[in-house]
């Protein structure tokens, strides 16, 4: 009952990079969904502003995708 593993050689087998990246896509996925949903909603409310809203949407897209991309890069950094 009190047998616990104090130190194990292979506590974790498998590639941590894959799990790290999988976790890293949760936040940007939600963020992108909110961004595009709000943009579509705003364009539906005022179609004349569509091109301005699209420009701002692309700027936001670049910022949010940085976080997801850094998730992959971090796997190589902390090799």
């Amino acid at each position: 009952m009190f047998e616990t593993i104090l130190a194990a050689e292979n506590a974790f087998s498998g590639n941590a990079n894959a799990i790290g990246y999988g976790l890293a896509t949760i936040g940007p996925g939600i963020g992108l969904g909110i961004l595009f949903g709000k943009t579509i909603e705003s364009i539906g409310r005022q179609p004349e502003a569509a091109s301005q809203l699209q420009t701002i949407m692309y700027i936001g897209l670049a910022f949010i995708e940085v976080l997801a991309i850094l998730g992959i890069v971090a796997g190589f950094l902390f090799s």
Binding site: S51, Q52, Q54, T55, Y58, I59, A62, F63, E65, V66, I69, I72, V73
Partner: protein
């Protein structure tokens, strides 16, 4: 009972990894100790360059007022870039960049579309160097436009120091803005295009190899037919991703250039 896919993994189906992207050189060349040998990627580059150059050359050689034939198709491409990318994002001042953006879009599109063309089946943009060159070109372009329009000191001051920010915050904000504007922009442009193409290529490779493997065994023939249908669907998806990534690269270039043209913030 275990699904046949797991049986395949045990019985000798080899899932392709990074070796799907290594290519043997056809003609070995070396320039100052750097390996510039001609392999399949370089041949794709030559072919895409030739296609782009010839399309634009022959499309606009003898322009008529009412276009027809190849001129009609190329005018559609230029119109698309002009009305969907340059005018909404940059306004009329951006029309000076229309030729560069059109050629950028067309070239990246053709490099991407070789992923689904039978016989070639390799996206040249999945090699990191090619999107890196495009991203460095964009980076030089938006920095040069910013310096030209606002002066060296003025451009860096306007983009790194937002107005109305208290001085202690600036010590954190300025390095972050510098990182975000001058380092992360070309980096994310590169990795976005490269990762999309690498993922697409690996996906298609696994599906096609898996179809061949599953169709070869009588036990898994049904799964093989399903895999073939999935292969057709994913080829369509990859065509969409190839055009979308070319579009996103071009429109982000336009957004960055337009951000440098006006005084930012």
């Amino acid at each position: 009972m275990t699904p046949p896919i797991l049986l395949a993994a045990r019985e000798g189906f080899h899932v392709p990894g990074a070796e799907a992207f290594y290519q043997k050189p056809l003609i070995y060349l070396e320039l100052f100790g750097v390996d510039v040998s001609i392999n399949r990627t370089v041949l794709i580059l030559f072919l895409a360059t030739a296609i782009t150059a010839l399309l634009f050359l022959f499309g606009f050689r003898k322009p008529k007022l009412v276009p027809s034939g190849l001129q009609n198709v190329m005018e559609f491409v230029v119109d698309f870039i002009r009305n969907q990318i340059v005018l909404p994002v940059m306004g009329r001042d951006g029309l000076a960049f229309l030729p560069y953006l059109t050629v950028l879009f067309t070239f990246i599109f053709f490099l991407n579309i070789f992923e689904v063309i039978p016989g070639v089946n390799f996206p040249a943009t999945s090699r990191l160097a090619i999107p890196l060159v495009f991203a460095i070109g964009t980076w030089l372009l938006f920095v040069a436009v910013g310096i030209k329009n606002q002066g060296v000191g003025g451009y860096f001051k306007n983009s790194l120091v937002p107005p109305g920010v208290p001085v202690p915050v600036l010590f954190i904000l300025v390095p972050m803005e510098f990182l975000s504007i001058f380092i992360l922009r070309p980096l994310t442009l590169t990795i976005r295009l490269t990762a999309n193409m690498i993922a697409g290529h690996l996906l298609l490779t696994v599906i096609f190899l898996g179809t061949a493997y599953l169709l070869g065994r009588p036990l898994t023939f049904g799964w093989g037919v399903g895999a073939a249908a999935a292969g057709v669907a994913f080829v369509g998806f990859e065509i969409f991703v190839a055009s979308l990534q070319a579009f996103i690269f071009t429109i982000l270039t336009a957004v960055y250039i337009s951000g440098s043209m006006k005084a930012a913030h």
